[in-house]
């Protein structure tokens, strides 16, 4: 007992405590770093509001109005029918002949990036996922963007769709 007491002098206790703390800190640091590598961010409210309004629109003119509300649309890009280049690009992604999405769910969100799954009127998935890359101006307009469907590389992926070849 005396030997144990002698072994546990203050310096030894401090050294042991330091070893334990460093051990714990090592794993905490590792988990923090791993979380940082794959950290998601909150979906941008401008983009989600645009998607909500766009998918709720019934006609192309309504969709064009929504596009002009949320995007910086150059008047030069509007054709004689009154539709902008942005409208056509977004329409091509969201309005295929076979399926009409009416809502969406967020699959992933990072700075300048949003990944969503379009949903039908019953809330069922309408693959493929949609990737939206964007930049927002200070006054809340989407100034630059890119939008596309995410077709899985593997045909065995349940989200792979022939109509998005």
């Amino acid at each position: 007992m005396d030997k144990v007491k002698k072994a546990l002098d203050p310096i030894t206790c401090i050294v042991v405590l330091a070893a334990v703390l460093l051990y714990v800190l090592l794993f905490y640091t590792r988990s923090l770093q791993e979380a940082r590598v794959t950290r998601a961010t909150e979906p941008n409210p401008v983009v989600t509001a645009f998607l909500t309004d766009y998918l709720a629109s019934d006609t192309d003119y309504q969709r064009e109005a929504v596009v002009e509300q949320y995007f910086l649309v150059s008047s030069d890009s509007i054709d004689r029918d009154g539709f902008s280049e942005t409208f056509y690009k977004v329409n091509a992604v969201f309005q295929p002949a076979t399926e009409k999405p009416e809502s969406f769910r967020v699959c992933a969100s990072q700075r300048n990036y949003l990944e969503i799954m379009p949903l039908d009127s019953k809330g069922a998935d309408l693959p493929c996922r949609v990737a939206i890359f964007y930049r927002i101006t200070d006054n809340g307009k989407i100034s630059s963007y890119n939008i596309a469907r995410l077709q899985p590389v593997s045909k065995r992926d349940p989200e792979w769709r022939r109509n998005w070849l």
């Binding site: 030997k3 144990v4 002698k6 072994a7 002098d9 310096i11 030894t12 050294v15 042991v16 330091a18 070893a19 460093l22 051990y23 800190l25 090592l26 640091t29 590792r30 770093q33 791993e34 940082r36 590598v37 794959t38 950290r39 998601a40 690009k89 091509a92 992604v93 992933a108 990072q110 700075r111 300048n112 990036y113 493929c128 996922r129 990737a131 890359f133 930049r135 630059s144 963007y145 890119n146 939008i147 596309a148 469907r149 995410l150 077709q151 899985p152 590389v153 593997s154 045909k155 065995r156 998005w164 070849l165």
Partner: protein, 149 residues
């Protein structure tokens, strides 16, 4: 005697933890995207597909067994879906956009359109790729500068 042993063991633990901690920080403190970029380049940047077999061990060391089975050249389905688009031609990976867990890239080879865009999504757990999803961006291409906007 006991005091000496306890102090020695504790000091060894401190030194080992300090080294591992420094390694962990260094491993992850490079750009968040470096891990994904490194993997994409390991997989798809080469002079010929013969190089892929030689990288098998490196790829395996970076992945969980499930992900390795998915990405392995022995996975014929994955091989056809990915290397089938490139073929046995010198290929360079052009990184277009990165975020934590997301790499958007183009492939520059004799048989690919350099404006086609591909996505490599991943998660890392315990230092290994624990989940990988690969996509093609359909309906868009790079802009004239090779970027996304």
């Amino acid at each position: 005697m006991i005091k000496t042993v306890v102090r020695t063991v504790s000091c060894v633990i401190i030194v080992v933890c300090a080294i591992l901690g420094a390694y962990t920080v260094a491993f992850y403190s490079t750009d968040n995207d470096d891990l994904g970029i490194r993997m994409v380049c390991l997989l798809y940047e080469y002079d010929s597909t013969d190089e892929i077999a030689g990288r098998d061990e490196t790829i395996a060391s970076l992945c969980t067994p499930e992900v390795y089975n998915q990405l392995s050249p022995d996975n014929s389905e994955h091989f056809e879906a990915t290397y089938g688009r490139i073929g046995n031609y010198e290929t360079q990976v052009k990184i277009v956009f990165t975020r934590p867990g997301l790499i958007v890239y183009a492939l520059d080879s004799a048989v690919t359109y350099p404006t086609d865009l591909w996505v490599f999504e991943y998660r890392i757990k315990d230092g290994l790729f624990s989940s990988v999803q690969e996509y093609k961006l359909v309906g868009t291409r790079t802009d004239s500068g090779g970027g996304l906007f």
